[in-house]
């Protein structure tokens, strides 16, 4: 099966879900799928920069939250949602570029990139947390501190703020955005740029010796990841009409890593499936009282790291291919550029 065929099939499957789910699901089901999709977009951004760019960000939620807040502030001031959506991608992209410049041009090692991204998201959490009160108002939008920003206007038909999207239309927008992001990332990875990015992940020194400015490539990957995470945040804010600083929290950052790891590092399908599966599981856990949620999530993470380090998608793919998978670890497995 060629990459091209799998690409077409994936998009077809996505479109089938896009138009099929509203016929199968009731309103609640559709709403739930909408938030899962928002988290899947976030997972894609993490999967892209980690699985392909080799950049280990522990704070991808910083860009997710920034996107959500940007959308909320902008839409409360502008009324029409078109520009706010663009801003919710643009602002996190620029922020990621700035942070990336600081990290990659400072030649900071991988572990420290983890620490810095983690620290940034913690700082954002603390900053936004202490913005209660009238002083922290941007135009019409009060940031609201820990309590967050309620009643954020939903997306509307572009150019017409008086016709907001209903939940079903929001589903089309969210799932459509997920498909677009997927297509975009596939195109990037198939391009010359994408191949260099993967080459850098495989062996940064070799790529440097071949004359590539690896800092610049990593920076661009990180910025793209930031923008996608921002879009996820925008979708998330839309789904609940609400955003609060907990999106910056450590628990949220941890979950995104779990999605990617469980689904499959070095794939694009993996993070999406991971996001859906884990979210569904977490939602189920809260409806019962027998098992503690942390216990289950923690156990899943440990088991996957130890027993299925490549994640579900590569393993399933390997089974179908019937290729003996003797190589241990994810890095070797992830070398293949595929969905």
């Amino acid at each position: 099966m060629t990459g091209w065929a799998s690409f077409v099939a994936m998009v077809a499957a996505g479109l089938a879900l896009l138009f099929g789910l509203p016929m199968v699901f009731d309103l609640f089901g559709l709403l739930q799928m909408t938030v899962f999709v928002a988290m899947a977009v976030l997972a894609l951004s993490q999967g892209f920069i980690w699985g392909y760019g080799g950049v280990m960000s522990f704070g991808q939620t910083a860009f997710f939250g920034l996107g959500g807040y940007t959308y909320a502030v902008a839409v409360l001031n502008m009324g029409d949602s078109t520009v706010p959506v663009l801003l919710s991608v643009l602002v996190p992209t620029l922020f990621a570029a700035l942070l990336g410049y600081f990290m990659f041009y400072g030649r900071i090692s991988d572990a420290y990139i983890g620490v810095i991204t983690l620290t940034v998201t913690v700082i954002l959490f603390n900053v936004v947390n202490s913005t209660a009160g009238d002083f922290y108002t941007i135009g019409n939008a009060a940031l609201g501190g820990f309590n967050g920003m309620p009643s954020v206007p939903p997306l509307n038909v572009p150019g017409d703020p008086s016709s907001p999207l209903d939940p079903e239309q929001t589903w089309y927008a969210a799932m459509g955005a997920l498909i677009l992001v997927y297509v975009l990332l596939r195109m990037i990875l198939a391009s010359r740029f994408g191949r260099v990015v993967v080459a850098i992940r495989e062996n940064e020194t070799r790529a440097q010796l071949l004359g590539y400015d690896t800092r610049l490539y990593k920076l661009v990957v990180f910025a793209i990841g930031g923008g996608i995470a921002g879009l996820g945040g925008c979708l998330y804010t839309n789904w609940g009409s609400f955003i609060s600083p907990t999106v910056f929290g450590l628990a949220a950052s941890a979950q995104v890593l779990i999605y990617v790891l469980v689904g499959g590092l070095g794939t694009l399908l993996g993070p999406i499936l991971g996001a859906f599966g884990i979210q569904y599981l977490i939602s189920l856990i809260g409806t019962q009282e027998a098992v503690n949620a942390n216990l289950v999530l923690g156990a899943i993470l440990v088991v996957f790291v130890l027993l299925v380090p490549q994640g579900v998608v590569p393993v399933v793919r390997g089974l179908f291919r019937r290729v003996p998978n003797g190589r241990r670890g994810r890095v070797a497995e992830a070398a293949v550029v595929e969905p």
Binding site: N129, G144, G145, F146, N147, G240, L269, V316
Partner: protein, 416 residues
């Protein structure tokens, strides 16, 4: 390529079956009950950092439902409690709120603990026309006809605590509070009541929720030399303040009055040598010795045992919130949201463990008793009570009689 779709679908299905098999037991039990039960939703954090606050609330709403069912239910139907553990996660609050409103189609939802969780779910219930009760003491200001708030607000408790502190210990106050909305707004109210009482605020300090070291602050407080420390610290990390305060030998030197201490079992978790003498003001204490209170605590302890955390105002207000709703339904003779709301707005009252609790039409808050108590040997000694306190803070900004379409939380401008 079909293999991918196969694997995806297979994965979702097998995941669903697996999870279903493992976790469906309580669900099945719940949904297998008679179809004509009345469903009541409950959204509380039972795990995660805020889980310690939710435990006792979860217990008392179960008790209230069980008691009502034992006495024949409502409108001749039994009540079925649908409760979800929100795991201290705002996203799950929104998700389960949609589930309760759209899928379970509950008659009413009781729940939410932090103000952030309330503000996340309140719009969901507005949008999908579901009645909502928030049963937690908070900073005040919610003005929404589809929502009832049954906990105390600063005018009911802080306004008792601060004057008592000023009269008893002196006029110089040092305020320490958690660095988020509740702490900041409560600190403003504390400052206002201090000045109203002719006192001065020497300093106001805010602490992020993950601060665990208080040595510098304890030094600063001594440097300022206040006659009382007013505390609105929140969460288990902040209980370290009381422990380090005692370890520094400050206990007994400068008294502490708090608007939060003891709400979440602190009285049992830290030693008497650290907690004795702290004064608080709430709408309810487990030690309250009225017959209604004694009967209530005995029933809770009989059902849930002595391991259940302290039965604070959170737990009592949850119980009373449910009873208020039940009375509303009885009076309306219907589950319809507007009819129940209108019935409640007639100034409906119930006698709960804390005393008489009356709905205030204009604010959708409650008129209820407030108490002052002092910690002594892992117990609260209630030494003063203030009957029928009105939610005057919210009333200053909110009039739902005049403006029933209002639906927002005011940040009350605390005039000094």
């Amino acid at each position: 390529m079909h293999e991918f779709r196969l694997s995806r679908r297979g994965l979702l299905q097998s995941g669903a079956t697996l999870a279903g098999g493992a976790l469906a037991a309580p669900l099945v039990a719940r949904h297998a009950m008679a179809a004509d039960t009345i469903k009541v939703g409950s959204l509380l954090d039972l795990s995660g950092p805020i889980g310690s606050s939710g435990q006792a609330m979860h217990a008392t709403i179960q008790l209230a439902v069980a008691e009502l069912n034992a006495s024949g239910g409502l409108l001749g139907r039994q009540i079925e409690l649908v409760n979800y553990d929100t795991q201290s996660t705002i996203q799950l609050y929104s998700q389960y709120a949609q589930q309760l409103a759209l899928k379970d189609k509950v008659a009413v939802v009781h729940g939410g603990i932090t103000s952030a969780s309330r503000e996340a779910i309140r719009p969901v219930f507005d949008r999908y026309a579901t009645l909502y009760f928030y049963n937690v003491l908070y900073e005040g200001g919610v003005c929404d006809r589809d929502c009832f708030c049954t906990g105390t607000t600063p005018a009911q408790t802080v306004n008792k605590l601060v004057p008592y502190a000023l009269d008893t210990w002196g006029k110089k106050a040092y305020i320490i509070a958690a660095d988020y909305n509740y702490g900041q707004i409560t600190a403003k109210w504390m400052g206002k009541y201090v000045r109203d009482g002719g006192g001065t605020v020497q300093a106001t300090e805010f602490f992020p929720l993950d601060v665990t070291e208080f040595a510098a602050t304890i030094s600063k407080i001594q440097q300022a030399g206040p006659s009382v420390v007013l505390s609105a610290l929140v969460g288990s990390n902040h209980t370290a303040f009381y422990r380090q305060w005692a370890a520094a030998g400050m206990k007994g030197k400068i008294p502490i009055a708090s608007t939060t201490f003891g709400l979440v079992n602190e009285i049992a978790t830290i030693a008497p040598s650290e907690s004795d003498g702290v004064v608080t003001s709430y709408g309810y204490y487990e030690e309250l010795s009225t017959p209604a209170s004694t009967a209530f605590t005995q029933a809770v302890r009989a059902k849930f045992g002595n391991d259940l955390p302290y039965i604070s105002e959170l737990a009592a207000a949850t119980y009373e919130g449910f009873k208020l709703w039940a009375e509303g339904v009885k009076k309306a003779g219907s589950l319809d949201r507007m009819k129940v709301t209108e019935a409640l707005e007639t100034g409906l009252a119930v006698d709960g463990p804390s005393g008489k609790v009356t709905i205030d039409h204009a604010t959708h808050h409650v008129v209820r008793n407030a108490y002052l108590a002092k910690a002594a040997d892992r117990k609260w000694e209630v030494f003063k009570s203030y009957p029928d306190q009105a939610p005057a803070d919210t009333a200053a900004v909110c009039d739902l009689i005049k403006d029933p379409k209002m639906s927002k939380q005011f940040v009350i401008d605390v005039k000094t």
